[in-house]
Symmetry: C2
Subunit: 418 residues, 2 copies
């Protein structure tokens, strides 16, 4: 069978799985998720053995320590996957929610009802825990899921997938509702994102290369988690002690995350009072600063920021720093270089707060708070499948409701259009 035919067959099975899932009650869906959680525990030895193979292959291929760490499964990480499934079980089922209801003047009743999307493809890179996390969120929302993980984690992903399917099917998981793309053929991604009529949505999770490849090849809808080039703008009206704490938190609390700070913008009126103190604090924490000319005039120990620095998502302890003449320049910088993810203003002046919130076109816009809060858990969603930097369908953290769509149910008593 050709790769194309193989992927079409996979899509057909997913469609059948989605139709069966859509008729399950919340209790039935929770029961199959619990079966999956239990199975991860009983398959623990197999998961660790499979992961050892991936780690050995990774070391042989010279993967970096950071990548090997992302790849590694441990008892604690397996326990975290199991706990994650139970958290999703505890979340309310979004399916069936009545979003709107109206009775038209002629008596026609129109309900807008939340329903599953259908078949969702998840394309991700080296973290094997995504296999479980993504699958259970999609299934809880009533969607069939097709998982395509990175080749570095292929044995781990297969072992986790096998455990989830075995535990799920024993507890009522419909056939085809959860599938892994088993082939490591790179063209499988292209086939997957072109399965129009069989795949309703693809969510890529990974680096810029993956996102670009998916975007350029896709013919089915895609929701991207592109990148987080997040800004903090310290206004002339800022409480500078608050600004120090927010910048430190946004940059240093967990620098490898997409909601971490990458570029600091400081109003020139407060730059002299703010930047030397900030630099002392961040240097002590091991942060490298890269500044424009005005910032470096105040803190000569800063490195020189190039044009490319304004675009970069460092994901490590590096911070780009720019002094701006006013709020307009700060907003213009964010509009030009930002990734529409999370951007903050530190200001006491209400007018500056209002303009920033209105004019900065990002998924999350902050006033006097750290950008690090852009997260499904922090937003009260319980769990997230990613953070959308797109504007269509879902923006910012995507929880269970963002994995659903709606349909209209129209009830008449023989109503005809005149």
């Amino acid at each position: 069978m050709s790769l194309h035919d193989e992927m079409v067959a996979l899509g057909d099975r997913a469609l059948a799985g989605a139709r069966a899932l859509a008729t399950l009650s919340s209790a039935a869906k929770n029961a199959l998720l619990e079966g999956m959680a239990v199975a991860l525990g009983t398959h623990r030895a197999a998961l660790l053995a499979a992961n050892a193979r991936d780690l050995a292959a990774g070391r042989e291929r010279g993967l970096s320590g950071a990548l090997l760490d992302r790849l590694a499964l441990t008892d604690a990480r397996i326990d975290a996957m199991i706990a994650g499934i139970r958290q999703v079980i505890a979340l309310p089922d979004p399916v069936g929610e009545l979003l709107a209801q109206q009775v038209r003047p002629d008596g026609l009743q129109i309900d807008k009802l939340r329903v599953p999307i259908g078949v969702i493809g998840i394309i991700y890179e080296a973290r094997p825990n995504v296999t479980a996390d993504a699958a259970v969120l999609c299934l809880k929302a009533g969607n069939a899921v097709i998982l395509r993980g990175g080749s570095e984690a292929q044995h781990s992903n297969r072992a986790i997938g096998a455990a989830l399917v075995a535990g799920g099917e024993a507890a009522g998981l419909p056939a085809g509702a959860l599938q892994l793309v088993e082939t490591t053929d790179r063209d499988a991604v292209r086939e997957l994102v072109q399965l129009v009529g069989r795949v309703d949505l693809v969510i890529p999770r990974g680096g810029e290369g993956l996102i670009r490849a998916v975007t350029e090849q896709a013919r089915v809808p895609v929701i991207k988690h592109y990148k987080g080039v997040c800004h903090v703008y310290v206004d002339a009206s800022a409480d500078l002690a608050m600004a120090l704490a927010i910048v430190e938190n946004a940059k240093c609390q967990r620098p490898g995350t997409c909601n971490a700070l990458e570029t600091l913008l400081v109003h020139r009126e407060v730059a002299a009072a703010f930047l030397p103190e900030l630099a002392a604090r961040l240097f002590a924490l091991g942060v490298e600063l890269r500044g424009d000319e005005q910032a470096r005039a105040l803190v000569p120990a800063m490195k020189v920021a190039s044009e490319q620095d304004w675009y970069d998502e460092y994901l490590e302890l590096i911070l780009a720093v720019r002094v701006v003449p006013d709020l307009d320049a700060a907003i213009a910088h964010i509009t030009r270089y930002g990734s529409q993810h999370s951007d903050a203003i530190v200001a006491q002046a209400e007018l500056a707060q209002q303009r920033f919130v209105r004019e900065v076109d990002s998924a999350a816009v902050y006033i006097n708070a750290s950008t690090r809060f852009t997260d499904g858990g922090e937003f009260g969603m319980g769990a997230e499948i990613g953070i959308s930097t797109d504007k269509l369908h879902a923006r910012g953290p995507m929880g269970l409701p963002e994995l659903t769509t709606y349909k209209y149910i129209v009830r008449g008593t023989g109503h005809l259009r005149r």
Copy 2:
């Protein structure tokens, strides 16, 4: 300037227009729409003259009577465009609506606020009135709009666009907020749908060929109005008098629309009681029937339906008819051949109604009513930009709220993530 550079420049102007629009009050947006409405009236002679050129060219190229009719502008149609703008002015502004609000345990306040999408591209075929209708809906929702109409209507579209821009700019329309793609180069569509970072959404409105071309080329999100292969299923429990009226209405009231009936499915237990009477009624109205073997056994005057008939959107007085053994077979037929637009069951049995509503995965699912109600006006939206057969972002009729997205506004008092 190359076509690519030309389109990039157009996208940059649209982005600037979108930013300016996003800061306008509802009153300011309504004022510029009113300026457009007035301008259509004052430019009436120019519109009719431009349209006469398109009609002459169309006749020369041998366009069908139906296409020439769609292309034609008359005083009445110009009046309808003007009235349409005033209807949109009267609609509530969706922008700024507070969709959700929460205060986290640590006091962080998270608002979810409705905002414009940004830049929307509309690609459409011969109807010149779409130029005004689509533009004003996008603008009212705070979006910049790029219009690309069919070459058959190029003079009409340019004249309408010029009137709208002149009237709008005199009333405060930001530069770049409304633009037409002036070139008739066919590659302009490909460039438009690949303007990642400048165009946030493309909505194609037209035939299957246009939709396919856009879907295959697009790198920006697309919401499609694909086609309406709508079904009515007459259950064994149906009130047959009601079913007769619904089938007649769904097929005949306006057969050229996407929500008109194309395929009738009849439960075999009522086929003998229903089909001969229905056929007599529809034949009298000039409807051609194409049936499967069982239907033709009851109504020999029916033509033979081929496999292709189940897929076809006739958009004229033709109806495909199939006798099915049960509800499962009806649902399976709709799942296989339908377009997820609008499908109806006529049934008195509640269980059949419930199963149909749950298992038919269409934008609008009807119980005992005509499919013809799937329409922005009938759904109380006031106006629609199209009917989405996609599942992401918007499904079914798309009004003003469906032309918006949201962002999170997060307010703290120095909140840090722990």
